[in-house]
């Protein structure tokens, strides 16, 4: 029994990082209907920025975390400006290919300039294990989950209470009507990319600290899984992304715990397909009837 609870805790920790990534996917998808394949690579770059701030500039972990989020936010805006904005009125698949191009560019650019081997992420915070009964949890795990929850609360406040958040919701509901209401759509989309990228970078830095190493391809698999999480929860919905992220994290650790670790990704995809078949809009999604 305690083993199951222990796995549940581990799953929630891993799921928090998926959730941070999934939030970026879901916001971008909600606003411009793009599967942003480069999102996982922004997460990777975020981890590298964190590495740079801690290892080279010897900054405190939290300052490094905030700085790499800020730099990644700028990077996200730059990516949107260069690779997606010129394609605003093109077929959606063209933007998708452009996103793939950005993803290749970031992965291979990093491999080219910094080498494709793994780098040890600096131990900015010393690991302390806490024992509660037979369960154990480390301070880094607590840090991951508390950071993730804090960021999610902040995001909810931004989206629900601020003017920019209202603009984001308006643009994702109906872009043309939003323009008529005097909303600067380009600025809103740019802001969405900034927030999504900052969240991804936070995930990257936290995972770097947790697993102790980073490499240029570290964003590929989590990127796909986070997208799966976003679809699972109901794409375009912020609570859905968080729910999906945690579910995928828990599922993954649970399949590992029952000895099917070779099949853990297959189980994730199988459950996704089953959910899509019964509820194509995801767990929290509402069905929209198509009008002719």
């Amino acid at each position: 029994m305690s083993n199951i609870i222990q796995q549940l805790i581990n799953g929630i920790i891993l799921g928090s990082v998926y959730a941070l990534l999934a939030l970026g996917y879901t916001m971008v998808y909600g606003i411009i209907k793009l599967i942003n394949f480069a999102h996982g690579d922004v997460y990777m770059l975020g981890a590298y920025f964190g590495y740079f701030f801690i290892q080279v500039l010897h900054l405190n972990f939290f300052i490094a975390l905030v700085l790499s989020m800020a730099v990644s936010a700028l990077l996200g805006m730059l990516i949107e400006f260069v690779a997606y904005r010129p394609l605003r009125h093109s077929p959606r698949i063209a933007v998708l290919i452009s996103a793939l191009g950005v993803s290749f560019l970031l992965e291979n650019g990093m491999s080219y300039f910094y080498g494709s081997d793994k780098k040890a992420f600096p131990q900015a915070i010393r690991t302390i294990q806490y024992h509660i009964g037979s369960l154990q949890i480390s301070n880094i795990q607590l840090l991951i989950i508390s950071t993730a929850i804090t960021l999610m609360i902040l995001l909810t406040i931004i989206v629900q209470k601020t003017k920019m958040g209202r603009a984001m919701r308006a643009v994702s509901a109906d872009q043309e009507a939003a323009i008529l209401m005097g909303i600067d759509v380009n600025r809103t989309i740019s802001f969405t990319f900034a927030i999504g990228s900052a969240l991804a970078a936070a995930g990257g830095v936290l995972i770097g600290l947790y697993y102790n190493n980073i490499d240029p391809l570290m964003g590929m698999t989590p990127g796909i899984k986070a997208f799966v999480a976003a679809v699972l929860g109901g794409i375009g919905l912020i609570p859905g992304a968080a729910l999906g992220g945690w579910l995928i994290g828990i599922l993954e650790t649970m399949t590992q715990a029952i000895g099917l670790s070779d099949y853990k990704d297959a189980v994730v995809y199988a459950i996704l397909i089953i959910i899509l078949l019964f509820k194509p809009t995801g767990i929290l999604g509402k069905n929209k009837r198509e009008k002719v």
Partner: protein
């Protein structure tokens, strides 16, 4: 009309024969070398897979990200069967069996999932392809992550050339048939198509299965040509490679697919000298082409000899569907 059609067909046949003879001469006088022949074969194999994917994405408008999975089925079918039965008949049989299994898997997967739209379908097919790969990694007979080596080689460039031509002819004719036109109608507006009495699910599944069979054939050819298969060859990246050929060429344009498969094959050879920088340049090319030609190099138009040489005012059918998916 009939004579004109004959003339048109003969011109195509002549052009293809000339291309064949040209490559033959290049190889006989050893101008392009073994490396050149390898490039030609890989272009042909990618072409077969990409034409299949174009049938799914371009013609039926269903966005599939799972092509690698079907290629893997074909590749492993050929690997296992030709190792057990090392003769040309075994090889042909293995292509047929691979195509059959792949088609059946596509049928089983397609019937439920093709109800999904756009991106949901993309993610579901991606999932299926990854599941196929994970099963292959964990099966004993497929020798796990290491893959299978020493597969008997039966593929030469002549075979791939002829097969590519046959595949293109079949697909182009299929698109012009009643079923093909129904598939295009489903792509352009599936609600309108349905209200005209077209069984949309049937035609979507038909295109999906045909695409999967072609993918399996391409996979089988590749396995026998490079004489090894491993699960790493058929990841998400392989699906993306094929997808890029289709999109860069123009979604729904078979001639675009042919042109891009050749251009990317040649580009790959040129970039080989750049080492690690190769993928960086490739990525930049992708982004730049998409920004300046968002509908692909040829859009949805087809290169047509008829228009070029014999045109006396739109006689033949020509699908001018403007906005494929917006």
């Amino acid at each position: 009309m009939d004579r004109k059609h004959l003339k048109y067909t003969l011109t195509w046949a002549l052009l293809i024969t000339m291309l064949f003879v040209l490559i033959e001469l290049l190889t006989v006088f050893d101008i392009i070398g073994q490396y050149g022949i390898t490039t030609i074969v890989l272009i042909g194999i990618n072409l077969i897979a990409a034409v299949g994917l174009n049938l799914v994405i371009g013609m039926s408008g269903q966005f599939s990200l799972g092509h690698a999975g079907f290629m893997a089925i074909g590749a492993y079918a050929t690997a296992l069967m030709t190792t057990a039965l090392p003769s040309i008949y075994g090889f042909i049989l293995s292509l047929l069996v691979g195509g059959l299994i792949s088609g059946l898997v596509a049928l089983a997967v397609g019937i439920p999932t093709l109800r999904l739209r756009g991106d949901y379908l993309a993610i579901a097919t991606l999932g299926v392809s990854e599941i196929i790969r994970i099963i292959i990694i964990n099966m004993k007979i497929t020798r796990g992550p290491a893959g299978i080596f020493g597969i008997p080689a039966f593929v030469n460039w002549q075979m791939v050339f002829v097969l590519s031509v046959i595949v293109i002819i079949i697909v182009v004719n299929f698109v012009r048939s009643t079923s093909g036109q129904a598939i295009i109608a489903v792509r352009d507006n599936d609600i309108a198509a349905e209200s005209l009495g077209i069984n949309t699910t049937k035609y979507k599944v038909m295109a999906f299965v045909a695409g999967a069979i072609l993918a399996a054939i391409a996979g089988g050819l590749r396995a026998s040509f490079i004489q090894s298969v491993s699960p790493q060859d058929y990841t998400f990246m392989q699906s993306i490679t094929i997808l890029i050929i289709v999109v860069l060429g123009g979604i729904g344009s078979i001639s675009g697919t042919v042109v891009t498969a050749i251009i990317l094959g040649v580009l790959d050879v040129i970039l080989q000298n750049f080492g690690t920088l190769r993928m960086v340049i490739y990525a930049l090319v992708l982004i730049i082409v998409m920004i300046f030609r968002p509908k692909g190099l040829l859009g949805t138009t087809e290169f047509s000899l008829q228009k070029l040489l014999f045109d006396s005012g739109g006689s033949h059918d020509h699908n001018d569907s403007k906005n494929a998916r917006s």
